[in-house]
C-alpha cells in the first residue's frame, strides 16, 4: 500500500472513530446527554484525533527521513491502536472536551513553533553548506579576496569584496534616493496635507510598495538603464552600458520610497500633538516646529526605519539581477556595471548544480553573509523602533 493510500485509510479510520466515540458516549449516558461531562461531539473528536494524529505524524516522519518501507504500514496499526484505546476511555465522566482542547492547544503551539523552525532551518542549511564550502576554500580568501572569477574547471577565485562593494554601493544610492523623498513625503502628509489630499496620496504612494520587484527589474532594464546611459553616462563619458550601479540604485530607491514614507509617517504621527502645540505657541513656524521639535523627537524611529530600508536594499534581488549587471569589480564610477551578493547567489544556484563544488557551495556562504548582515540590521532597527514606541505610549 502506498503512503498516500495509508493516509486516506487513516483519515477514514478517524471519521469512523468520530462516529463510534460519539455514539458510544450517548449510549453510555443512556441517551441523556446531560449526564455526560462533555458533549458527545467532543467524545467523537477525541477518538478521531487519537486515531489520526499519531499515525499521520509517523507517516510524515517516514517521508521526511526516508524510513524503510515497513514503517508506513505500521502507521495503520498505530491508528487502529489509537482508535481502540481512546474508545475504551470514553465514559460519561471522561473529560473529553479538556482532552480535545489539550490536543488543539498542542497543535497551536506547534504552528507557532514553525516560525522558530523556519529560522533554525535557514541557519542550519546556511551554516552546514557554508562549512562544507570553507573546507574546500579558505575563509580568508572568501571574506578578504578582491577577485571574483569562478570557473567550474577549477582554480576559481571567490573573493567576496567586489560583491560586497556592489551591494553597499547600490544600497547607498537607493537610500540617497528613497530617504529624502520618503521622509519629505511623510512629513508633508503628516503635518501639511489636508485629510483629502492625504487620502489620495498615501494609497497612491503605497501602490509602489505593492508592485513586485520583478516589475521594477524590468523597468530598470528596459527604461531607466537606457535613459541614464543616453542622457548622462554617454554624454559625460562615464560608461556605455545600460546596466549600472546607478540604474539599479535609482530604481531600488523608487521601490523603497513607500517603505521609508509609511514607516516615517507612523513615527512622525506618534509624536504627541502637545509638542507641536508647544512649539507653535512660542511663535515658531510650521517648518521650524518640524525640523527642531518633531524630527528630533522622532529621530530614533526614523533611524530605525532607514535601517529597515537598508536591510531591504541589501537583500533585494530582482532589481539588481536585471539592472546592475554581472561584472564583479570594485570601482567608484556609479555608471559602470557591478554586481551584488544576491546576483551571484542567483547566478551560482540556477541551472545544473554540482553540490560538491566550491563554485556552487559559495552561494551558501554568500547567503550566510547576507543573512547575518540583514539580520543584524533588522534586530537593531526593530530594537530602536520598539524603544521609540514605548517612549510615547
Amino acid at each position: 500500500m502506498s503512503p498516500f493510500w495509508i493516509m486516506i485509510a487513516t483519515l477514514a479510520l478517524a471519521v469512523l472513530g468520530y462516529l463510534l466515540g460519539r455514539s458510544r458516549s450517548i449510549r453510555l449516558a443512556g441517551g441523556d446527554t446531560r449526564a455526560l461531562h462533555s458533549r458527545p461531539g467532543y467524545h467523537g473528536w477525541n477518538v478521531a484525533l487519537f486515531t489520526a494524529l499519531p499515525a499521520l505524524l509517523l507517516l510524515a516522519g517516514a517521508r521526511l527521513f526516508h524510513a524503510p518501507g515497513w514503517v508506513a504500514p505500521a502507521a495503520l496499526v498505530l491508528a487502529l491502536a489509537g482508535l481502540g484505546l481512546s474508545l475504551s476511555r470514553t465514559t460519561p465522566q471522561f473529560r473529553a472536551r479538556n482532552s480535545v482542547e489539550r490536543v488543539i492547544r498542542g497543535v497551536l503551539v506547534v504552528c507557532a513553533l514553525i516560525a522558530i523552525a523556519t529560522t533554525l532551518a535557514i541557519v542550519l542549511s546556511l551554516v552546514f553548506e557554508s562549512a562544507r564550502f570553507f573546507q574546500m576554500y579558505p575563509w580568508q580568501d572568501f571574506f578578504f579576496g578582491t577577485e571574483w572569477t569562478p570557473s567550474f574547471g577549477g582554480g576559481s577565485k571567490l573573493g567576496m569584496l567586489p560583491l560586497l562593494w556592489g551591494t553597499l554601493y547600490i544600497s547607498l544610492i537607493a537610500l540617497l534616493v528613497a530617504v529624502p523623498i520618503g521622509l519629505y513625503a511623510a512629513i508633508y502628509m503628516s503635518d501639511y496635507a489636508s485629510p483629502r489630499v492625504r487620502s489620495v496620496v498615501k494609497p497612491a504612494i503605497e501602490v509602489l510598495a505593492g508592485i513586485p520587484t520583478i516589475v521594477y527589474g524590468l523597468f530598470a532594464l528596459v527604461t531607466v538603464g537606457p535613459l541614464l546611459r543616453d542622457w548622462i553616462a554617454q554624454p559625460l563619458g562615464l560608461g556605455s552600458g545600460g546596466s549600472s550601479v546607478m540604474t539599479a540604485g535609482v530604481v531600488m530607491g523608487m521601490m523603497l520610497i513607500p517603505f521609508v514614507s509609511s514607516l516615517s509617517d507612523d513615527i512622525i504621527n506618534a509624536v504627541p500633538q502637545s509638542l507641536r502645540d508647544g512649539s507653535l505657541a512660542m511663535g515658531s513656524t510650521h517648518s521650524e516646529t518640524i525640523r527642531q521639535v518633531v524630527l528630533p523627537a522622532a529621530l530614533p524611529g526614523i533611524v530605525g526605519a532607514i535601517l529597515l530600508a537598508a536591510s531591504r536594499a541589501i537583500g533585494e534581488t530582482m532589481i539588481v539581477v536585471l539592472g546592475a549587471g554581472a561584472m564583479a569589480k570594485i570601482s567608484p564610477n556609479p555608471f559602470e556595471a557591478m554586481t551584488t551578493i544576491t546576483v551571484k547567489i542567483v547566478g551560482q544556484l540556477t541551472g545544473d548544480n554540482d553540490f560538491a563544488s566550491p563554485e556552487t557551495l559559495v552561494a551558501f556562504a554568500l547567503g550566510l553573509t547576507l543573512f547575518v548582515m540583514t539580520l543584524g540590521l533588522n534586530i537593531l532597527a526593530l530594537y530602536i523602533v520598539r524603544k521609540y514606541r514605548e517612549q510615547y505610549e
Binding site: S194, L275, G278, A281, M282, G283
Partner: protein, 267 residues
C-alpha cells in the same frame, strides 16, 4: 444682551491699561457656534481668570488670543481682537509674530525632548533674541529664575527636560514661554496635571509674573481663580456671562447663572 452690557460696564472703569480689546467675537468649529458675541477687555499687568463649566468655550476663547485655533482647520473666528489696538485677525498679521508676543502654557507640561537649556533657549533662538552665546545664557538664566526653577536646575541644564518632575516640567514650560519675552501669557489649566504642592508653586509663580505680563488663565477650579486672579470672566455655553473684579464675582455675582456656578449648582 444683558451680560455683554454688564461686561462692558465693568471694563470701562480702567480703560487705560487695556492690553486686549475684544469686540463681538464669534467662533465656529465647523457647524458648532462655540463662542457667541463675546466682548471683553483684558488688562495689562493683571491676572485674568476664565472660569465656567467644561465645554463653555473658555479654552477656545483663550486659544483665539494667540491664534492657536488656526492650527485646527475647521475653526473660524469673526469679530475684533485688538492687541494694543491692532487686530490680530487682520490679514497682514503673521501668527508667528503674534505668538512671539502672546505666549502660551498648556494643560499638560510638554517640554521638548531636549535639554533644559535648549528648551528655554528654543524661543530666543527662533526669534533671534540673542546676539551671542553669552546673551543667550543670560536670557535662559533670567527666564529660569523668573519661573522659580533656576536653583533646582542650574547644575543640570544640559540634562533632558523630560526627566524633571511634573511641577518642574510645568515651570520649565513657563520659563520657555517667558524666555521669548512675550507681553501676554496665556495659561490653559496649567495646574490640572499637577499635585497640590506643585500647584501651589505654580500659583505663586503666576502671582509674580503679574509684575511683568498680562496673564490670562483658564481654570476649572474656582478656588484657584479666587487665589491668583484680579479679574474673572465667567463663560457659559459660549457666552461671556459676567466679567469683573474677582472679589465681586465671587462675593456679589450679578447674574443668577454665575451664582449657581460658584455655589456649585451647575458645573
Amino acid at each position: 444682551m444683558d451680560d455683554v452690557r454688564l461686561a462692558e460696564r465693568a471694563v470701562d472703569t480702567d480703560a487705560r491699561d487695556i492690553k486686549f480689546q475684544c469686540r463681538d467675537v464669534q467662533v465656529w468649529y465647523g457647524e458648532k457656534h462655540a463662542i457667541k458675541d463675546v466682548s471683553v477687555d483684558l488688562l495689562d499687568k493683571t491676572v485674568t481668570a476664565f472660569i465656567g463649566p467644561s465645554g463653555c468655550g473658555k479654552s477656545t476663547f483663550l486659544r483665539c488670543l494667540n491664534r492657536m485655533n488656526d492650527t485646527i482647520g475647521i475653526a473660524r473666528v469673526e469679530g475684533q481682537m485688538l492687541l494694543d489696538g491692532e487686530n490680530i485677525y487682520d490679514r497682514r498679521v503673521d501668527p508667528v509674530q503674534l505668538r512671539a508676543r502672546v505666549g502660551m502654557v498648556f494643560q499638560k507640561p510638554n517640554p521638548f525632548p531636549k535639554s533644559i537649556y535648549d528648551n528655554v533657549a528654543y524661543g530666543p533662538r527662533i526669534h533671534g533674541l540673542a546676539r551671542n552665546r553669552a546673551e543667550l545664557d543670560e536670557i535662559v538664566e533670567k527666564a529660569l529664575r523668573g519661573a522659580a526653577l533656576w536653583n533646582e536646575v542650574k547644575d543640570r541644564l544640559h540634562e533632558t527636560g523630560t526627566g524633571l518632575s511634573g511641577g518642574q516640567q510645568q515651570r520649565l514650560c513657563i520659563a520657555r514661554a517667558v524666555a521669548t519675552a512675550p507681553e501676554v501669557l496665556l495659561m490653559d489649566e496649567p495646574c490640572s496635571a499637577l499635585d497640590p504642592i506643585a500647584t501651589a508653586q505654580v500659583e505663586e509663580l503666576i502671582d509674580e509674573l503679574r509684575a511683568t505680563f498680562s496673564v490670562v488663565i483658564v481654570t476649572h477650579s474656582m478656588q484657584q481663580a479666587a487665589r491668583v486672579s484680579q479679574k474673572t470672566a465667567f463663560f457659559h455655553l459660549g457666552n461671556l456671562v459676567e466679567y469683573g473684579d474677582t472679589d465681586d464675582i465671587f462675593t456679589r455675582p450679578r447674574d443668577p447663572r454665575t451664582e449657581s456656578y460658584i455655589s456649585g449648582r451647575i458645573g
